[in-house]
């Protein structure tokens, strides 16, 4: 049994943000009280050994749920696999991660869904939930067997990595997915507008002679998919929103009652296109980093609830792939191990976002939208839980990262504020930054 003394509990599911003593027993959050005596605790323990953590000045919150990770298994295990990815997850404070379907082969049938699910169970760290593709082979022309795949454990459907360019196909997907109750996740990128662009089109791209991607490459599809969701009544989730125009479109659509949620990636909240240099491929990401104004709109959108969740879009790549001239390096940032800390340091500490909102957006909201367990510390719920030390600082070092990937803009830099204990179903899986 665990006794967390005088810890600051953040649990948006109970609208709770206050100091508490927390007891965890038998894989569950057992009780929470303003304070407890040793006698009371021992009575509850009924002879079970009690590990007491003096957690004053630290936070406890429900384990983070990341609805957008690329774990690369099957097929690209040199970049990451489900074991290394789920270890990276718990090191970073995530107890549930959704695995995107654009693997090799793509996850477009029940057998593959069950494979990913099983690999997650075998790994035994974070809960790994498979996302299935929307279309067979991610070819954008025929729907997958959504009902069968849901029965196999799929948590959502997405052709992420590739846009469904055919609007009729997207409309049909939103209709048919009603049979499952699961959301369709849109990658929000018009293929023709994005072209072979490398970064957001703007003054910085023009100066460096890097081919630009206009903001409209995203917003045009956001507008389209919002209209389709409105017309069909389908359940839509918009991935990695990065532009002011998208935020405005979503805000208006929500006001009209469209069944939509949207996510934003930490890197879009922290960096902008001006941070990119010609040889810094760690910041080459898709959708590309937006303007400074976009960054502000995203923070505002996350604050006012237009953007429902934070998701990492963890996109691991090998060093040799990223050690190339900018145009030749793949898009993506590996972020499971640094994302929470980066958000703490760059957004919470300067007062741009409250930690309560961050936890709501990264745990409670994803659980609600995707119908997942977790996202709460209500007594009786499974103890997927994080103890966060706001003072712990660490240099992001190649030697300590447990992901296979090193493509993070924070490599070699120091970050402050880290999860120092992580439980999955009451089992301690990470302690003092080491995965157990």
């Amino acid at each position: 049994m665990w006794w967390l003394k005088e810890v600051w509990v953040i649990d948006p599911s109970q609208s709770l943000s206050a100091p508490r003593d927390v007891l965890v027993k038998g894989g569950q959050v057992l009780e929470m009280a303003s304070s407890m005596t040793e006698e009371e605790v021992l009575t509850i323990a009924q002879g079970e050994p009690v590990e007491t953590i003096n957690a004053k000045g630290k936070f406890v919150f429900p384990g983070l749920i990341d609805v957008h990770t690329h774990l690369r298994e099957p097929g690209q295990e040199e970049k990451e696999d489900i074991l290394s990815g789920s270890r990276a997850a718990v090191r970073g404070g995530f107890t549930t991660i959704l695995a995107m379907a654009n693997t090799k082969p793509v996850i477009d049938n029940r057998a593959l869904v069950e494979f990913v699910l099983l690999q997650g169970v075998r790994a035994g760290y974070a809960h790994v939930l498979p996302i299935g593709t929307v279309t067979k082979g991610m070819q954008g022309s025929e729907l997958v067997e959504m009902v069968d795949m849901k029965e196999g454990g799929a948590a959502a459907f997405s052709d992420d990595g590739k846009n469904i360019q055919n609007a009729e196909m997207m409309r049909l997907a939103l209709e048919y997915a009603k049979l499952t109750g699961l959301p369709i996740i849109s990658h929000c990128e018009d293929k023709d507008l994005a072209g072979d662009g490398l970064m957001r089109r703007g003054v910085t791209s023009a100066r460096m002679g890097l081919k630009g991607i206009p903001a409209s490459a995203e917003s045009v599809i956001v507008a389209r998919d919002l209209l389709l969701a409105e017309e069909t009544g389908g359940k839509l989730h918009l991935a990695h929103i990065s532009t002011t125009e998208s935020v405005n479109l979503i805000r208006e659509a929500k006001a009209r009652g469209v069944n939509v949620t949207a996510e934003v990636n930490p890197h879009h909240l922290i960096f902008c296109d001006e941070d990119i240099t010609l040889t810094d491929t760690a910041l080459k990401v898709n959708p590309p980093l937006g303007s400074r104004g976009d960054r502000e709109s995203l923070i505002e959108g996350l604050r006012d609830g237009t953007l429902d969740m934070i998701a990492t879009d963890h996109a691991p790549h090998t060093q040799s792939e990223k050690t190339r001239p900018f145009a030749e390096a793949p898009f993506g940032i590996a972020s499971l191990e640094t994302a929470l800390s980066a958000v703490w340091q760059y957004l919470v500490l300067p007062g741009q976002l409250s930690l309560d909102r961050v936890i709501e957006a990264w745990s409670y909201s994803p659980a609600q939208r995707f119908g997942l367990s977790g996202g709460t510390l209500k007594p009786g719920s499974s103890a997927d839980m994080v103890l966060f030390d706001p003072d712990f600082s660490e240099v992001i070092d190649s030697a300590t990262l447990v992901s296979k990937a090193r493509n993070t803009p924070f490599l070699g830099k120091s970050l402050q504020g880290f999860p120092i204990m992580v439980w999955v179903e009451g089992q301690l899986v990470q302690r003092n930054r080491t995965v157990i």
């Binding site: 703007g202 100066r207 081919k211 010609l278 190339r324 001239p325 900018f326 145009a327 030749e328």
Partner: protein, 311 residues
């Protein structure tokens, strides 16, 4: 001035003092080039590697000649621009060159930033002979050198650069170089090739060539990549040349004896009419010599050490 720089990657990060020092050194180099015996022992034992991922006989030959005149051993590695996934990566090639202990590497590559990428890995100096759409500093330096030879100090003068600015490393490098030296620069072309974000270069933009010409001392036409038409960036060569082609008639609008430059090779009767092209041809021989002089100056400054041929 004391030369500090290991590499020449882009004009953007160079100081006016450095640019002036290069131009001054190039002047001396040109005098040497004009001598009957133009072989110097200055860089004897130094090795210069030409690494060209894009075919460009003119630029490569110019660098080779510059190296040879200074007495360096020059090696050319012509790499076929194969698909990205195939073949040796630039990183691997850099490691090989590092092992060869070259003193200086000249690189031309289709990716913006590739010269900096190489320079970050190598102990050797690197000269950017054109990287993607980013920069072509030696072209800009030889252009300003030629302009000043013709017109004297360019400070306060006016230069119009017309054409496919968006995709042009020559336009970018010239824009930086000229504005640093106090030149009034205007970039001209259709909105698809001179989009608003080009304002980031800090110079004037316009879509109206005729309106930009009055007072121009130099008009530079950029080479139009004809395949841009297929990508929809302009409707036809006919309309392009009607709006932006340099003709004798149109050049009268400058109201001056302006000079016309073109980085070559020219598409005659597209960006430049036959008769104007002939006047440019006259300057080309001079440009070739100036190109060698500029490149000699850079090679000398980067690896010439203290062996002083230049007073």
């Amino acid at each position: 001035m004391k030369w500090q720089r290991k590499d020449i990657l882009a004009i953007e990060d160079m100081s006016v003092e450095e640019i002036r020092h290069i131009l001054h050194t190039a002047k001396v180099m040109k005098e040497i080039l004009m001598r009957p015996i133009k072989k110097l022992p200055t860089l004897k034992g130094k090795s210069v590697v030409n690494l060209f991922y894009e075919a460009s006989t003119r630029t490569r030959t110019s660098f080779e000649m510059a190296g040879k005149v200074l007495g360096a051993d020059t090696t050319s590695i012509a790499v076929a621009q194969s698909s990205v996934s195939k073949g040796e990566s630039l990183y691997d090639t850099a490691k090989t060159i590092q092992a060869m202990r070259a003193d200086l590497v000249i690189i031309r590559h289709s990716s913006s930033g590739s010269a900096k990428f190489l320079a970050d890995i190598l102990d050797a100096g690197v000269i950017n002979a054109g990287d993607g759409q980013h920069a072509h500093p030696t072209q800009a330096l030889l252009d300003i050198f030629t302009m000043e030879e013709q017109l004297g100090e360019m400070d306060g003068k006016k230069v119009v650069i017309v054409g496919d600015v968006l995709h042009s490393r020559v336009a970018r490098s010239n824009a930086w170089c000229l504005q640093k030296l106090g030149v009034d620069v205007t970039l001209v072309g259709p909105p698809t090739l001179v989009p608003v974000e080009m304002a980031g270069l800090g110079v004037k933009l316009t879509h109206d060539l005729d309106g930009a010409l009055p007072g121009a001392d130099v008009v530079m036409a950029l080479r139009l990549q004809l395949e841009r038409q297929q990508s929809g960036l302009f409707p036809s060569l006919r309309e392009y040349s009607h709006l932006y082609g340099l003709t004798t008639e149109r050049l009268k609008k400058t109201g001056k004896q302006s000079i016309v430059l073109h980085p070559g090779p020219m598409n005659r009767n597209v960006e430049i009419s036959d008769d104007v092209a002939d006047s440019v041809e006259a300057l080309i021989e001079r440009q070739v010599t100036n190109g060698v002089a500029i490149r000699m100056a850079l090679i000398y400054l980067l690896i010439g050490g203290s062996g002083n041929v230049v007073a």
